[in-house]
């Protein structure tokens, strides 16, 4: 018996058709995965279910009853809760206040902070989050915030839980906590719809997979009756060979480092970190989430006040502001693209051109932007990165999540950086594009760029990097390279640094 039926639903934005007669159903007590490339329409279809948007045509039915005048409030009352791709927490309120957002338990009309914290604790525990419910949500890391979102979705014991890339900022441990919750819900007869670009996760947790491509359903498969290649073929319409590029030849290690950091320390972030970023090599920062990886990147881009010595091409340097870092040809693609990486209210064109004003405004005295050069540059980047936008003038915030990430990365390419710092470069990016990004990073490295990436995706670190420095509580506890760089060793070093050290 279907809990929810999506029946020939279509949706357009300003003449741009995003969903075309999409049909699928969610059975009671199953986990359904929605798979598709960036911009395929997954989040859009979910937004119809959660009442954030209304379909242009077609119908959704819950328990056979058509949904009428649907809204987030009604969806919630009907037992549908969701974790959105874009976080919906209020950074200024406490974790507990966020968990109960919109349904604060009141006693005689008053909501008591102590009461909230007490009720929030078991929910936080359930999602494996060990934080004081009275901390402000804005102080948590992205991954912790995502878990708070999950706790929030569990408040009203949902019949249907929607997870739109709810694990994108989580490390392996935290993903397991999410899986545990999903399995509990399934065992209790509830249903879960999940979206993720980590294919392994989908196969680990889902019962059926529905593939979307360009806003249409390609197929729905039982997990037992399909495999990775089959799904990828349906998703991108072709085979996908060698996800990861070949690694750098070991001889290159002899080149002088482009950037060397000694004893890099950021108060409350990392302590005594030594790093060498060498042209031609991709260095990874691994470890559990929130062990200081972000602080290292922010320090190297002049965004975080830091101590320690930094040398650029052999000469001592100070990186006290992003401006200085950019002048030293250091580029940074941040973790939270909406805060630091993109001007979300501006067009794709403006976002791509901003970091490259030197290229498009060459007339030094007049310094007006050459519109032709700009259009050419933008068209080239959109093409190279396969950014899916209605037009270059589309606002960045209207792009699908993955495409926003591509814009954040693409804007640095024309400036030809020497050092490229990337935080979670493929978060929320589909496999096809992931492959392109891996190959692109390797090409950049081969052209002499020194690359530093952080990632919570173990497979990605192992597949992409020449060397991985594992961080724990702000310090590098292990360095893995060559034959030592395996998923197993990496996971072991991340969760239990003391043992591997001994």
């Amino acid at each position: 018996m279907a809990l929810l039926t999506v029946d020939r639903v279509s949706k357009s934005f300003a003449g741009n058709r995003v969903l075309h007669e999409v049909s699928f159903d969610v059975r009671a007590g199953e986990v359904l995965a929605l798979v598709g490339e960036n911009g395929a329409g997954k989040s859009t279809v979910l937004s119809l279910i959660t009442g954030m948007q209304a379909p242009d045509a077609g119908e959704l039915r819950l328990d056979g009853e058509p949904l009428r005048a649907w809204s987030p409030l009604r969806a919630r009352a009907a037992g549908i809760s969701s974790v959105h791709q874009e976080l919906s927490l209020n950074p200024h309120q406490t974790v507990a206040e966020n968990v109960f957002l919109g349904q604060w338990p009141a006693r005689r009309g008053l909501v008591l902070g102590r009461d909230l914290a007490r009720r929030a604790r078991p929910l936080l525990e359930r999602v494996g989050l060990d934080v004081d419910p009275r901390t402000r949500a804005g102080r948590l890391s992205l991954g912790q915030q995502q878990l708070v979102e999950l706790a929030k979705a569990l408040v009203c014991a949902p019949r249907l839980l929607i997870l739109d890339e709810a694990t994108s900022a989580l490390d392996d441990d935290q993903v397991q906590a999410v899986f545990r919750v999903v399995r509990e819900l399934r065992a209790a007869g509830s249903s879960v719809v999940t979206v993720s670009h980590r294919m392994a996760e989908l196969f680990a947790i889902s019962d059926r997979l529905t593939v979307l491509k360009d806003g249409a359903v390609m197929a729905t498969r039982d997990r037992a009756g399909t495999d990775h290649d089959d799904i990828v073929r349906l998703m991108i319409g072709r085979e996908l060979s060698d996800l990861f590029p070949a690694k750098a030849a070991p001889t290159k290690a002899a080149t002088a480092p482009a950037l060397r950091a000694r004893g890099l320390t950021v108060p409350g972030g990392c302590a005594g970190v030594d790093l060498e970023l060498t042209p031609g090599r991709i260095l990874g920062l691994g470890g559990l989430q929130g062990q200081g990886q972000r602080a290292v990147l922010r320090a190297l881009f002049g965004l975080a006040r830091h101590g320690g010595e930094i040398e650029l091409a052999g000469r001592p340097a100070k990186l006290s502001s992003p401006r200085e870092a950019i002048r030293a040809r250091i580029a940074y693609v941040p973790e939270d693209r909406k805060v630091e990486g993109l001007h979300v209210a501006q067009s794709v064109r403006a976002n791509l051109a901003l970091t490259n004003l030197d290229t498009v405004a060459p007339a030094r005295r007049l310094t007006t932007v050459d519109r032709n050069a700009e259009a050419g540059l933008v068209a080239d980047l959109i093409d190279r990165m396969r950014i899916k936008a209605a037009s270059p003038s589309q606002e960045a915030r209207r792009l699908s999540g993955g495409n926003q990430q591509k814009v954040a990365l693409a804007r640095w390419l024309p400036s030809e950086p020497r050092v490229l710092l990337l935080a979670e470069p493929t978060r929320g990016i589909d496999v096809g594009t992931k492959r392109e990004i891996y190959h692109l990073l390797r090409r950049l490295a081969d052209d002499g760029v020194a690359v530093l990436v952080t990632s919570g995706d173990t497979m990605e670190l192992v597949g992409l990097c020449d060397e991985v420095a594992v961080m724990y509580e702000g310090a590098v506890v292990e360095r893995l390279a060559g034959g030592d760089l395996t998923e197993e060793r990496l996971v072991r070093a991340s969760v239990n640094p003391a043992v591997t050290h001994a």
């Binding site: 919906s88 927490l89 200024h92 206040e97 604060w104 008053l110 909501v111």
Partner: protein, 314 residues
């Protein structure tokens, strides 16, 4: 735990800092006016400061949702006019009328902001002309009649009790309660992340409309206070309150982007501005220099406050 403690300290830094500033201002003040700490002075001063304090609270309530109210001065004058005109028929009735009108104007503002999807700054700018016009219809000439007994009790103390002070304390207590209701939490939630609040099933429009209406009540009280203080109504007297209330809210640390701020601090900040204005009057400087000095002091105060309470970036 240290997080919570630091958070609490930082949260109260606003209040502590403003309190310190007030102590300094009071010390300077008592230098010019040695009767400052007598009950009579306290009553007179609190009567004088009450309208701005309540106006700042109204402005802060709106700013907490991420809005702003440029019509505040007009609404204040409207409430004052309604009160002055109807006071003949009994003070309680007049007060209810004035508050109802002010709350209604707030609700209209809020409805326009919530449904028209227009920026609050534009909606309330337009509304300021609208309510200004309405006020002139209600009370074309300064006048109206507030019972002189009430005026006297209010300005000179009623059996030794400073009524305006009682009003401020009462309103603060009410706010404290409102803040702990679901409505109060939604107010902060909408201000902090409107989209997220909507996605979580908060009725963001209702919350906004209610916030503007609540602000209307505060401003209405301010208008009544001003009418009782001066003994009559004046359609043109409200204008300065708009910008002063914004200045007080900003000084109090209420964010323009919404979701951050405390009413206690708004009250103290309004007090700072009131004391500062009086103090500059005492100096006998030309009004031009007074304005310049007031501006400088505010900028310095806001800068210091911002640095002291700034979030430490990791």
């Amino acid at each position: 735990m240290p997080d919570a403690l630091a958070g609490r300290l930082r949260g109260n830094l606003d209040v502590v800092g403003l309190g310190a500033l007030i102590v300094v201002l009071l010390a300077a003040y008592s230098h010019y006016d040695s009767t400052l700490f007598t009950p009579a002075s306290i009553t007179i001063l609190s009567a004088q400061f009450l309208p701005l304090i309540l106006a700042a609270m109204g402005q802060s309530a709106v700013m907490l949702t991420g809005g702003i109210d440029l019509s505040l001065g007009s609404v204040l004058a409207l409430a004052m006019a309604v009160f002055a005109v109807t006071a003949d028929h009994g003070v309680p009735l007049a007060a209810v009328c004035a508050l109802a009108v002010a709350a209604a104007t707030g609700a209209v503002n809020g409805t326009l902001v919530a449904f028209a999807g227009l920026p609050p700054i534009i909606v309330t700018l337009a509304a300021s002309f609208l309510w200004g016009g309405v006020t002139l219809i209600v009370l074309p000439q300064p006048g109206g009649s507030v019972p002189s007994g009430l005026v006297k009790a209010y300005n000179d103390g009623w059996n030794g009790v400073a009524l305006p002070l009682v009003v401020v304390v009462a309103v603060l207590v009410v706010w404290k309660l409102v803040k702990t209701t679901r409505f109060g939490l939604s107010l902060y939630a909408v201000g902090g992340n409107e989209h997220g609040a909507y996605a979580s099933g908060v009725k963001t429009r209702t919350v906004k409309i209610s916030a503007y209406a609540l602000a209307g009540v505060f401003v209405g009280l301010a208008g009544i206070g001003l009418a009782v203080q001066t003994g009559s109504g004046d359609a043109t007297i409200g204008a300065p309150y708009t910008l002063n209330s914004i200045a007080a809210s900003v000084l109090a640390g209420v964010s323009f982007f919404g979701g951050v701020g405390q009413m206690r601090a708004a009250v103290l900040a309004a007090l700072v501005i009131g004391l500062l204005t009086n103090l500059l009057l005492f100096t006998g400087l030309s009004p031009f220099y007074q304005l310049i000095l007031q501006g400088v002091v505010l900028i310095v105060a806001i800068t210091v406050k911002t640095f002291a309470t700034r979030e430490r970036t990791e």
